[in-house]
């Protein structure tokens, strides 16, 4: 009983998490032919909403290069990324509930809301320029022997360092 409690309530060592993530990504790649990506799924949802609103974006430059278009037979809502993104949210919720750590969080004030939204737009835009987020452009790129994963890694550290400096100086 104690062991089970420890497993579901306490954080696991980084190395255990790393190995499990690697095995899961290999499994996903073996069965679907594509490595794990996250933000691409969110982009497709956004595009799906724009489509419903009547915005025609199929001829946008982004969707004509680098294999950014939808896989054949898939739609902006019905695709592999929707399944995996919903699964990630479900898995994370299950883990939080098991550890009794689930909690609704409030927005502190307008400043936090504003910075959150601006940060989200910057991250979303940046993820499109860099072929993905830290999952698609880093975690899945490096095992694919793609150089852009290593470039991403270097600048991720630069960005985190710069972000902390800016935060420390101007926002706190």
């Amino acid at each position: 009983m104690r062991v089970i409690e420890k497993i579901i309530k306490k954080p696991w060592p980084y190395i255990a998490g790393g190995i499990i993530l690697a095995l899961l990504n290999i499994t996903l790649f073996a069965f679907s032919g594509k490595p794990w990506r996250i933000t691409t799924g969110f982009l497709y949802w956004g595009m799906g909403i724009l489509e419903v609103m009547g915005v025609d974006h199929l001829d946008w430059h982004y969707f004509t290069v680098n294999g950014n278009q939808l896989s054949e037979g898939k739609t902006f809502f019905n695709n592999e990324y929707t399944v995996i993104n919903l699964s990630v949210m479900m898995g994370a919720s299950i883990a939080a509930f098991l550890a009794s750590e689930f909690k609704w969080k409030r927005i502190k004030n307008r400043k936090q809301l504003l910075f959150g939204l601006v940060g989200g737009v910057l991250m979303g835009y940046g993820s499109r320029l860099s072929f993905g987020c830290n999952i698609g452009a880093y975690f899945s790129a490096i095992p694919s022997f793609s150089l852009h994963g290593w470039v991403y890694a270097v600048f991720m550290f630069v960005g985190a360092w710069l972000g902390c400096k800016l935060l420390f100086k101007f926002l706190l």
């Binding site: 750590e101 969080k105 927005i107 502190k108 706190l172």
Partner: protein, 75 residues
Amino acid sequence: MLEVRIDCMHEACPIPLLKALKKLNKMNIGDVLIMETDHSCSITNVIDWAKKQGHEVDYAEISDGEWEIYIEKRQ
């Protein structure tokens, strides 16, 4: 001895840690910093960090999922 409170409710990493770092820099040895937080990660990372810096640290859960972290500046 001075007691300083910082409000880190509804704020996520790394804001609580950076706020604590900034406040502690301006405090004198022996002063106590009290951080209010509802971010469970802070219980791990703020406490580990403060211990590593050589400060005296303790914490208490004041209500469901809300904590106070006490840091006594030692250096």
